[in-house]
């Protein structure tokens, strides 16, 4: 027993460097702790599930040679300064094939410039803030190595405003947190209200800070303005405080907001006060198709949970790895620049759990951010919270997804 243990340890020692030389190194970064952790850890675990599947099948075929994927994890804690440090560290690695991750828009803005400088390919997921991509279009960058695999806030805010208008509401209050994500989300919402014909009057625009628990003042100013609906942009714990405050003050209007409303720390802390909350989702944890079913069951089993903390993040992390792997295969190389070129022109469709991705990205054009954005309006559905789970808000969406998969 002891001998085999020592033998296997020794074997391990020799095996690791041998494997490392032959492996494709991908860094996964995100907040694995703090208020955004449900998104960060779900994204990471979804991505690792995909990596485990790919490695179990022998790895990726790179120019005739099978190569394993090796993961480097970095916890940015959702802090901008950590994001910058990690960006610098990753940019200095010479054998890195790419980076996947980031949840917080501020972290993306602080860290990605170091990667772009060195031309390291990164797929941002699930950070949705507009600033993550328009920092590059505004600067007129000609050649961009940063891609996004998330329903950006422009799509989401359009859906949120659409939904409010379709319910015939005319007065809305906007609540948002004071981070980059919240402030840019607020601007997107105001923008969308204008674009969709000014049918909603914004009767209150109220900010809250990370860590705030008492939202009475913000909510009462919404109530005083006669808001019929509350639009919100923030992360889980504070939005739960908003829902609980609404229940306390007897405010029964619907709460509609960004996809972060599906975070487990919103659902758990808001409890029954969260029921009926609406948000755009790229993935709903419901076994609509066999492929989705096997992903959900695989996740539950691998991480010993009965509910994915943030299903959207997990599914996006999972699909992002498959898209990245397809690019590595097409490039026939682990060189990050060649992978970037392949990503801009993926020839074979990639079957993921969210959708089957056909040519998700194209050559970067600073005048059109959509060239490096994978998601379109049709890839996103409205989700609704019901008794601690996110379900389809519209049955039509559910049917549409099942149909498109069987095609």
């Amino acid at each position: 027993m002891k001998k085999t243990l020592i033998a296997s340890l020794l074997l391990g020692m020799f095996a690791v460097p041998a494997m490392a030389a032959d492996a494709i190194k991908i860094a996964i970064t995100g907040p694995f702790s703090g208020g955004s952790a449900p998104m960060g850890t779900s994204m990471r675990d979804g991505a690792k599930l995909a990596v485990a599947e790919i490695n179990a099948a022998g790895g990726i075929n790179v120019a005739g040679k099978k190569k394993m994927i090796e993961i480097i994890e970095r916890d940015d804690e959702g802090k901008n300064e950590r994001g910058a440090l990690i960006g610098q560290e990753l940019a200095s690695m010479s054998d890195l094939s790419g980076v996947i991750g980031s949840v917080n828009t501020g972290v993306v803005v602080a860290g990605d410039k170091h990667l772009q400088e060195k031309g390291i390919t990164k797929i941002i997921t699930p950070a949705a803030g507009s600033a993550s991509m328009n920092q590059w279009s505004k600067a007129g960058v000609k050649d961009l190595s940063i891609f996004r695999f998330a329903a950006d806030d422009a799509i989401q805010s359009a859906m949120v405003v659409e939904d409010a208008i379709s319910h015939k509401f005319t007065k809305a209050a906007i609540l948002y947190d004071s981070t980059n994500y919240g402030v840019s989300g607020h601007d997107d919402l105001v923008d969308q209200i204008k674009k969709q014909g000014n049918k909603l009057a914004v009767v209150a625009s109220e900010k809250f800070n990370i860590g705030d628990k008492d939202m009475t003042a913000q909510l009462l100013s919404a109530k005083a303005g006669g808001a019929q609906v509350i639009l919100i942009w923030g992360i889980g714990p504070e939005m739960a405080a908003v829902s609980n405050g609404m229940a306390k003050l007897g405010m029964k209007m619907p709460l509609i907001g960004g996809w972060t409303l599906s975070m487990s720390n919103y659902i758990d802390n808001a409890g029954k006060n969260g029921n009926g909350t609406l948000m755009p989702q790229t993935f709903i944890e419901e076994a609509t198709t066999p492929h989705v079913k096997s992903f959900i069951e695989g996740y539950h089993k691998a991480y010993n949970v009965t509910r994915i903390p943030s299903p959207v993040s997990a599914a996006q992390g999972y699909d992002a790895i498959y898209i990245f792997a397809a690019a590595v295969k097409q490039a026939g190389s682990d060189d990050t620049h060649k992978i970037k070129l392949a990503l801009e022109d993926l020839r074979e469709p990639v079957k993921g759990v969210i959708s089957t991705w056909k040519h998700p990205f194209s050559k970067w054009d600073p005048a059109n951010e959509l060239t490096h954005e994978a998601f379109r309006r049709a890839d996103v559905v409205m989700g609704k919270i019901q008794d601690g789970h996110v379900v389809f808000a519209e049955q039509a969406d559910r049917q549409r997804l099942i149909k498109s998969d069987s095609k």
Binding site: K207, T216, D268
Partner: protein
């Protein structure tokens, strides 16, 4: 409509202010006897809340968890006294400032490693469903905070005035040297004050956790406000902290409503500056006259 909103805001703010007052009271207790302040008081609140949550998770009923949590808080208070304060006081040094801060940082890291960095809900048998009083919504949970704050402070004040040990406490607070000459052990009294202060911190943790959730950073925002309250009211003002706490809480809510939510933190700071400029001993503080 409008006047109801103002009252609602003031009431909600005042209830939050009572929590500041309770934590501020913890500062007062140790300051009274030892003229030192535990700058890790916020971490004591957080540690006790986590410990109480662990007791609940272990299956202990709520009403048994409360004394358990309080005992833990008192013990942590004694640890702070022994590890950070006693030696510095003996050497008449100000080392306790740094030591209590270090204790806070250590506790923070320990909590992160033991319980993780996520905010967790804290179950409570007290309902969070609001009821209406003249159009103002109050939840039983908020009411329990108010009752808890007054109960703890009332009991401790009663103890100070009615028991022999309490009188020793008052004697050391009034004049340490004279009390020692009368045969009262100052060291023991200071230990007692730190134990009580830890207990108050634990009570604050148990009371606010169902509202704020439990996480390593749960008290970091509260503690600054509590410190302002303690200084503005005066570090030996007793029930003065309650008035200042309520006023600050209500003011915060109203500022946030009228000036915008970005201005929420302003009144606390302005109050602090004004108090230090006009009444350095606090609004309810006694002037520091010492006969030689």
């Amino acid at each position: 409509m409008n006047s109801i909103i103002i009252v609602q805001m003031a009431v909600s703010g005042a209830l939050m202010g009572l929590v500041y007052a309770l934590i501020a009271y913890g500062f007062q207790l140790t300051y009274a006897t030892s003229k030192s302040i535990n700058f890790g008081q916020g971490e004591l609140v957080m540690l006790s809340a986590f410990f109480s949550l662990t007791l609940l998770d272990a299956g202990l009923p709520y009403w048994l968890m409360v004394p358990g949590g309080l005992l833990f808080g008192a013990m942590m208070g004694l640890v702070v006294e022994r590890a950070c304060v006693r030696l510095s006081l003996e050497q008449k040094s100000e080392g306790w400032i740094l030591l209590t801060i270090i204790f806070g940082l250590l506790s923070f890291s320990a909590a992160e490693n033991i319980w993780g960095r996520d905010d967790r809900p804290f179950p409570s048998p007290i309902s969070a469903d609001a009821f209406n009083v003249f159009g103002i919504s109050i939840t039983p949970l908020e009411l329990s905070v108010a009752i808890g704050v007054f109960a703890v402070m009332g009991l401790i004040e009663l103890f100070k005035h009615k028991t022999l040990l309490g009188k020793a406490f008052e004697a050391v607070s009034a004049d340490r040297d004279a009390a020692e000459l009368m045969g009262i052990s100052a060291t023991r009294t200071i230990m007692l004050s730190f134990g009580l202060s830890g207990m108050v911190a634990a009570m604050a943790g148990i009371l606010i956790s169902p509202i704020t959730t439990v996480g390593p950073t749960m008290a970091s925002a509260l503690i600054l406000k509590a410190f302002s309250v303690a200084v503005v009211a005066g570090l030996d003002s007793g029930f003065g902290v309650v008035l200042i706490g309520i006023a600050l809480g209500a003011l915060e809510s109203l500022t946030s409503f009228y000036l915008g939510s970005g201005w929420r933190e302003a009144p606390g700071l302005i109050l602090l500056i004004m108090a230090l400029a006009l009444r350095p001993n606090g609004v309810f503080g006694k002037a520091n006259i010492r006969k030689v």
